[in-house]
Amino acid sequence: MSFSSFFQNTSLVSDEASKKHVKTFELPDKCFQKRIGCVWRRGNQFTVYPRSQIVNKTTDESRNKTDDKILNIRQEVVLFTPILRKLVNEANGTYLSVQKISETSKTTDNQVDFLKLSRQYRSIIRVCIESLQEAANREKEGINKNTYLSYLTIFYSIECIWHLCEILYIDIIPGEVVLPFLLEWVRFHFPCHEQTAALLLESCEVGSEDHKDYWDTVIVMIVQGRVDVARALLKLHSAADSNEFKLIDNSLRSMPVYSVYGGISTGEFTISWKHWQAECRSKLNSKLLQDPQLELVMRLMCGERSAFECVSVKFSSWFDLVGGWVLWTAPWTRRGELSAAAAACAAFTHTRGPLEQIVRALLDGDLHQVIREVQQISDNNWFAAHLTDMLHHCGKLRILDIHQADVTSRLRDSLILEYGSLLMEHKSLWSVGLSYLCGTPEGVRRAELMLERMPVQTEAKAMRITAEAKKYGLLGVVQSVSACMSTRHLSGGAERTGGALAWGARARSGPQCSRAAHAALRAHCAGRPLPAADLLLTAGPALLVDDTLLLLGKYCDFHRLYKSREFKKAAKLLVSLITSNIAPEYFWSTLLLDTLPLLETEEPVISSEDTYDIMLCLELRSTCLSKEKADLLRLALARNLARTVLVDVGDE
């Protein structure tokens, strides 16, 4: 049977399929010719295998062989590509800091810390974008380059959404007047004609209007609220000294700008701003402006809907306009009140990409919708999990189910669980996944199940798994992994008894130690030397975990004493082992026969009383020895009794 595996990208689900939540894959080869079976493997993997219920006895084997394939099917996870693994690991650190701070924030207000961590997340995404870009540049062309480019789009939009989220929900905005932040967001994410502007300003030539993008640049600067740049650009026009230019410049210069620390109230500002705009409108109506472009600028400044509609074609999407729209219609807008502006701007264009929808939902303040949309991004829910967690801890998320019950923390937990379980699948990222899972009560149970099923090749890994499990208090995992290691050693034969015992002791598992000890005793009965003497002689209290192990330990000690010719001590120990009756049935013959040499020593070492005890045991268990051996032992016992009955062995 041959084994093959293939990967399918299930994350890029087409629109149509996502509606039905079904995606069809075609399996290669003729898998379905026979009946097939399917079984789940660890994590998001399953195996499809042919399962013919008819036993094929025909000789036509060659044909059958070619069709028998086990297909191992798993989801392709973008996060497991080397570049994105950096993101996963780095974000994990930030995630854990968020959890730590949210612990303390129950008592204090940590908005600043949350903002810092949110920025940290964004910088992590930025770094990731940078390295993706580098990688994409390195690749000449082909599939790899395209994959990198598609990752790039994904993470660009993630950063864009996160930034806006940060502005709207996490950042501390004095007076809640969101405009400057919004303008910054637009400028940062949709730089448009920035280079042209820089170029024109640098060359600083009068008559720059000859540049083909001159007017476009001026208009864009006005729409993006970069008044200073727009004014500087207008000064470069060859007719900059004419009255109409001076008029525009004057109006732009005199525009009131709101600042919380400016000493005026919002109301006052609103009045002066409206006054200023009315002035602009009257200038516009006075038909002083002959140049159509200048007129357009003035119309934009007056917040005319038709003007915005007219320039909207210059932009790729409607949110480039949002900043300008708020600036030139209602600069006092607070951050909760952006919905109207979003609606107005969205009406200008008809593009409805996923990014547009998320931004719209964000501006509308519908976080539930945002999260729903964000889950559609094919980044394996990295973004959804981290964003939801962040918003949840900031206390900005409140999601109700159909019964109006608060399910925010459940939503957050389920996203975190999903993300954590995904990482647990990876051979190296399991520890990262674990730190996500163990942050939620249900996750701890899940982590327990998944940790127990981790493939363990080396003891180093086993030790690391148990260390991690201990960290989260999963003592069951420590036991089961150790017991598993112990069993593995045990199945390796009698030479590996030491390993089996060491891991059995780590598991603190009586049955496990008992099995290992039995194996060692049986091997000894079969004529092998006692294994693991070094361990047994130094084990100390660990021996007490099981009776058989204790017997093995003491028996080993007996051998040591005997070898070092301390016969009296050895005899005492052996007698106590015999009389305590803890030896398993098969070991009695060995124990009893071990008394023989001690009974025959020059100086008697077994007292008469002990001899009686051995005699009793021998008669009770005479079946375990052959008649010949039993008689031999009886004779030796009788002789020893004869020696000691008058002068007994003294205690030392």
Binding site: P82, I83, R85, K86, N89, E90, N92, G93, L96, K427, S428, S431, V432, S435, Q457, T458, E459, A460, K461, M463, R464, A467, K471, G492, E495, R496, T497, G498, G499, L501, A502, W503, A505, R506, P531, A532, A533, D534, L535, T538, A539, G540, A542
Partner: protein
């Protein structure tokens, strides 16, 4: 100058880092060995500045040598040759070109399946080198002494331990000390033909593994061992039954220890609990001779944390003058600069 930490994510859990020594100048190159990944490798890196005017240096990968299993130890046998132990039971000696660090590593000698359970594979857990000799240990409990000049196995101590061995260190040319999963330490005389240790003692009573062993650079009779519990034990081998000091140090197992090459009183340790500490060992090693140390001195030991505690294990460290590298399970390497020594 304050201590400056700079981390780089490398998409591999790093189990070992080693600076590549350079004559007469500060080295820029280093090795990393990864573990616990689908595909593990030994990589050569170089610190390079992205722009001329920038001060920050970032590591750039120069070459990669793939291995089949986890890299469990990297030690130098001479300036350009490293001995590497791998979890599939192999030991390899690899050479890096002195002139062109970018050229791929060259295999000098390979001992395939040096450690094994018969046909079954078994991890080679660690090795130590001394003047071209290599002592390797494995989960099978065997110690192999390899001759790195001729490329043969000069001696094998079969069944040196009934459990798996996890740490090894050369004390003298003819003596190695090993530590097993239960913290049982044994000293072996390589010349003796009997498979009996010349001395044996326990690290602590808690039956936890001895994860690393080193000896003091100037007083070789002083041996330190790190335990899986995070404790640090110190022996004077002239009277070795009990550790002279047993310090409960880290919150998790000690992963690697190194005495600073320029200052033998400075010890650096890393741990599974994500800590990297710097110890001032003056007290401990000086007072050794007159077996008496006032209790308050013991508690006054100088320990500094070099980095904020990581949330994942730090597996390795290596220092070269004022610069220390460490590698961690969060798939990052950290360069700690301006360490005073």
């Amino acid at each position: 100058m304050p201590i400056d930490v700079q981390g780089t994510f490398v998409s591999q859990k790093i189990n070992k880092v080693r600076w590549i020594p350079e004559d007469y100048m500060e080295t820029k190159h280093f090795f990393t060995g990864s573990w616990d990944d689908d595909e593990n490798s030994i990589k050569v890196w170089s610190f390079e500045t992205a722009n001329e005017d920038e001060d920050v240096e970032y590591p750039r990968q120069l070459s990669e040598y793939k291995v089949d299993g986890d890299v469990t130890e990297i030690k130098f046998t001479n300036k350009n040759v490293i001995a590497v132990s791998i979890s599939n039971g192999d030991v390899k000696m690899l050479e890096i070109s002195a002139y062109d660090k970018e050229s791929p590593l060259k295999e000098v000698y390979t001992w395939n399946n040096l450690h094994n359970y018969g046909l079954e594979k078994c991890s080679c857990t660690s090795l130590d080198t001394l003047e071209g000799d290599i002592a390797s240990i494995g989960e099978d409990g065997n110690v192999n002494i390899l001759n790195g000049r001729r490329g043969d196995i000069s001696q094998t101590i079969k069944g040196a331990d009934s459990c798996s061995l996890h740490s090894v260190c050369f004390i003298k040319l003819n003596e190695v000390i090993t530590g097993n999963i239960r913290g049982h330490m044994k000293i072996w005389d390589i010349r003796s033909s009997t498979n009996k240790p010349s001395a044996a003692f326990l690290l602590a009573g808690d039956e936890l593994a001895a994860t690393c062993i080193i000896h003091h650079p100037t007083q070789p009779h002083i041996v330190l061992a790190g335990s899986e519990s995070g404790a640090l034990a110190l022996w004077d081998l002239r009277m070795n039954q009990f550790p002279t000091s047993l310090l409960n140090a880290h919150g998790g197992g000690v992963t690697e220890m190194q005495f600073h090459p320029e200052n033998p009183n400075k010890l650096l340790t890393t741990s599974v609990s994500g800590e990297i500490w710097e110890w001032n060992m003056d007290m401990l090693t000086k007072k050794m001779s007159d077996d008496y140390m006032p209790v308050d001195d013991k508690t006054n030991m100088n320990v500094n944390s070099l980095m904020p505690t990581l949330h994942k294990a730090i597996n390795t460290l290596h220092c070269d003058r004022g610069r220390t590298l460490c590698g961690a399970d969060n798939e990052a390497i950290y360069l700690i600069k301006n360490l005073r020594y």
